[in-house]
C-alpha cells in the first residue's frame, strides 16, 4: 500500500452522518463535542499509520485454527411466551414496532 494515501489525517468528521449510520439520535451540541473528542482520539489512533506494514497480513483472528463447524441438528428453540415477554411490544405472536417508513 502506498502509505502517502493514508495521510493527511481526516480530522474533519461528518459526525451527523456517522451518528445516522450508527442510529444515534443526538442533539447538535452533543454532536459538536463528540466531533472534537473523536478527532483527538483519531489523531492518537492514526499513529498506527506510521508503522511500515508493507506485505503484512492483517490478524483479524488471534487464533490459528479454522473450520469450527456444528453438526446440522436441531437443538431446540426458546419458548415463545418467554421470548415475547422480553419484548417492549408484542402482538399475536409477533414483535410489534412502528412502520418502517413515515406516512407523509
Amino acid at each position: 500500500m502506498d502509505r502517502s494515501t493514508l495521510l493527511p489525517m481526516p480530522i474533519d468528521i461528518d459526525i451527523a452522518h456517522v451518528a445516522r449510520l450508527a442510529r444515534l439520535d443526538l442533539p447538535e451540541d452533543e454532536l459538536d463535542t463528540l466531533r472534537s473528542q473523536l478527532s483527538a482520539i483519531l489523531e492518537h489512533a492514526a499513529k498506527v499509520q506510521s508503522l511500515d506494514t508493507e506485505g503484512v497480513e492483517p490478524s483479524n483472528h488471534p487464533l490459528g485454527f479454522v473450520n469450527a463447524f456444528r453438526e446440522d441438528v436441531v437443538t431446540g428453540s426458546l419458548d415463545r411466551d418467554e421470548v415475547l415477554a422480553m419484548a417492549p411490544e408484542a402482538r399475536d405472536g409477533y414483535f410489534a414496532a412502528p412502520p418502517a417508513m413515515s406516512q407523509e
Partner: protein, 481 residues
C-alpha cells in the same frame, strides 16, 4: 426495441438451503410455522449469544459452486455487513465480502435452440433476515401503520449466486433463472420454491449502445415472484430505460420494485443515501478452509445435472429439442425415459413419446404424477416398430397403459388395436375393394393418382382400421399398375 440498444443484465439469486437447522444456531429451518417459534438467543441476537457455522451448509454451497463450475476458495472468511433494519436482529448480517466460498463459474442456458454461457461471478454464504409484516393499508410498505416481526426465518442459511452481466434479453434472464432453479432443485439443497420465497431473484439492468459501448447506469429490480414476472419486469425495465435515454433523460442508479398488477417497475423511496455497509471480518467465526480432499469428496456426490443429461440424451440419438425438454423434465418422466430405454426401447422414440404423448395425456387428465410400468411403454414402442400398432392405435394403447389396464399387448388386445400383419388377409381385402370399385380403378388408370386415397380408406374400413395403411397403399399401387 430500438435499433442499437443492447441490454446488459446480471441476476442475483438468493437460495435458502433446506438444512435441518439454521446457519449459525440449532433452531429448525421450517416454513409456515407459527411466528417466533423457531427462535433462540443466537438468531434473536440476544446479548451474549454467538454464531457457530453449520457445516452442512458449507458443504452445500460448495456443492452449488461445483455444479456451477466455480472455483472453490481454499480459504475464505465471513464478514459482518452492517445495516440497521427491524427484521435483521443483530443489525448486521453475517455474509461474505471479498473472499466468497465460490467464484468464477458458468451456467449454460438455452433460448430458442441457442445455447448461451452465462458467467457466475460468485456464490457466497450468508444468513436470511426475519420477516416484516407491514400492517394496515393492504400491507404496502409506504402506507403501513405498524410493523410486525417474525424471526423464524432469521438465520436460515442463504446462498447468494451472482451472475456476471452476461445476460442480454428478458428471455435469457428467464431461462437463466429457470435453469439455475433446476440445478439447485436437483442438488437437493433447497426446496427452491418461488412461491415460498426459498429461491428469490433480483435483476440488475442497464442498456448501452452496442456491445462495445461502456456499461450504462444500472438499476436493480426486485419483487419478481415468478419466472413470468421476472421476464416481464426485465422487459419493462429495458424498455423504460431506452425510452428514458431516447428522450434525453438519465438513468438514476436505484432500486425499483416490480408491481405485478400494474406491470411496471416503480422507484423504491429510500431515505438512506448510498449504503455504507462497513464490512469487516466476523470475529466470532474462524476462517473456512476447503481442502482438496473435501472438495473432491463433495464433487463425487454431485448428481447428474441437466446439461450433462442433455448431452447424454443427444448421444443416445434423441433430437435436440426433445433432449432439452426431457433433461429438465421432472424426475418421474426422466426415470420413465431411462427405464423405457433400459427395457430395450429406441431412445429417440421413447423420448418423443414421453415428452409428447405422455405429457399431453397428463395435461388432459390433469394429473401431476404418473406411476407407469416402463416395460409396457418399451413393449408398445416395440410393437410400433414391428408394425403391430399404428400411430393412432399406439396412442390408445398408451392411454390404456397409463390408466393401468395392463401391459401394452394386453391393452392392444383388449381394445382390439393390433394391426393386421397377415398379408394374405390384407391382399384379399384389397382384391375385394378393387372388385367393388371399378370406377375408381378406371379413374386411377386414366391418371387420377389421388383416387388411391379413397381406395386405401375403403380397405381400412373393410379391415376395421387394423391393416397397416402403408402396406395397403403399396399393395394397391402394385395391383393397379
Amino acid at each position: 426495441m430500438s435499433v442499437g440498444w443492447e441490454p446488459v443484465i446480471g441476476i442475483e439469486v438468493h437460495v435458502e438451503l433446506a438444512t435441518q437447522s439454521k446457519m449459525f444456531c440449532g433452531c429448525a429451518v421450517s416454513f409456515g410455522e407459527a411466528p417466533n417459534t423457531n427462535v433462540c438467543p443466537t438468531c434473536l441476537a440476544l446479548p451474549g449469544a454467538l454464531p457457530v457455522t453449520n457445516g452442512k451448509a458449507i458443504e452445500w454451497i460448495i456443492k452449488i459452486g461445483l455444479a456451477l463450475h466455480c472455483e472453490i476458495s481454499e480459504w475464505s472468511v465471513f464478514h459482518r455487513k452492517n445495516y440497521f433494519y427491524a427484521d435483521l436482529p443483530k443489525n448486521y448480517q453475517i455474509s461474505q465480502y471479498d473472499v466468497p466460498v465460490c467464484h468464477d463459474g458458468w451456467l449454460d442456458i438455452d433460448v430458442d435452440g441457442e445455447t448461451a454461457r452465462i458467467g457466475i461471478e460468485r456464490a457466497h454464504q450468508e444468513e436470511d433476515t426475519g420477516k416484516s409484516l407491514h400492517m394496515g393499508e393492504g400491507g404496502r410498505i409506504h402506507a403501513a401503520t405498524e410493523t410486525l416481526l417474525d424471526f423464524n426465518r432469521a438465520g436460515v442459511p442463504l446462498v447468494e449466486v451472482v451472475s456476471k452481466p452476461d445476460i442480454r434479453s428478458a428471455a435469457q434472464a428467464r431461462a437463466y433463472a429457470q435453469t439455475l432453479r433446476q440445478v439447485i432443485a436437483e442438488l437437493g439443497v433447497s426446496d427452491a420454491r418461488l412461491e415460498e420465497g426459498s429461491i428469490r431473484f433480483d435483476a440488475n439492468i442497464s442498456v448501452r449502445q452496442g456491445p462495445d459501448a461502456e456499461f450504462g447506469t444500472k438499476v436493480e429490480i426486485k419483487n419478481m415472484n415468478s419466472f413470468r414476472s421476472l421476464e416481464k419486469a426485465v422487459d419493462f425495465e429495458i424498455k423504460r430505460q431506452i425510452a428514458e435515454l431516447e428522450a434525453e433523460g438519465t438513468i438514476i442508479q436505484e432500486t425499483r420494485h416490480w408491481d405485478e398488477e400494474a406491470a411496471v417497475t416503480t422507484s423504491m423511496r429510500t431515505k438512506e443515501g448510498s449504503s455504507d455497509y462497513r464490512y469487516f471480518t466476523e470475529p466470532d467465526l474462524v476462517p473456512l478452509v476447503v481442502t482438496p480432499e473435501w472438495r473432491e469428496h463433495i464433487l463425487s456426490t454431485l448428481p447428474e445435472l441437466p446439461h450433462q443429461r442433455k448431452d447424454r440424451y443427444l448421444a443416445l440419438g434423441v433430437d435436440t429439442q426433445t433432449a432439452l425438454a426431457l433433461s429438465s423434465a421432472d424426475t418421474a418422466l426422466r426415470s420413465l425415459f431411462e427405464d423405457t430405454v433400459g427395457a430395450g426401447a429406441d431412445a429417440k422414440a421413447a423420448a418423443n413419446w414421453i415428452t409428447g404423448e405422455v405429457v399431453a395425456w397428463m395435461r388432459r387428465e390433469s394429473v401431476d404424477t404418473i406411476d407407469v410400468d416402463s416395460a409396457s411403454v418399451a413393449e408398445m414402442i416395440g410393437m410400433i416398430d414391428a408394425n403391430e400398432l399404428s400411430a393412432s392405435a399406439a396412442k390408445e394403447v398408451l392411454d390404456g397403459i397409463l390408466r393401468g389396464e395392463g401391459t401394452a399387448r394386453a391393452v392392444a388386445e383388449s381394445r382390439d388395436l393390433i394391426q393386421m400383419t397377415d398379408t394374405g388377409a390384407i391382399e384379399s381385402a384389397v382384391d375385394s375393394v378393387l372388385a367393388d370399385n371399378p370406377d375408381a380403378v378406371e379413374r386411377y388408370r386414366a391418371g387420377e393418382q389421388k383416387v388411391v386415397g379413397f381406395l386405401v380408406g375403403q380397405v381400412m374400413r373393410a379391415t376395421q382400421g387394423k391393416a397397416d395403411p402403408k402396406a395397403v397403399n403399396g399393395l394397391l399401387r402394385e395391383k393397379l399398375s
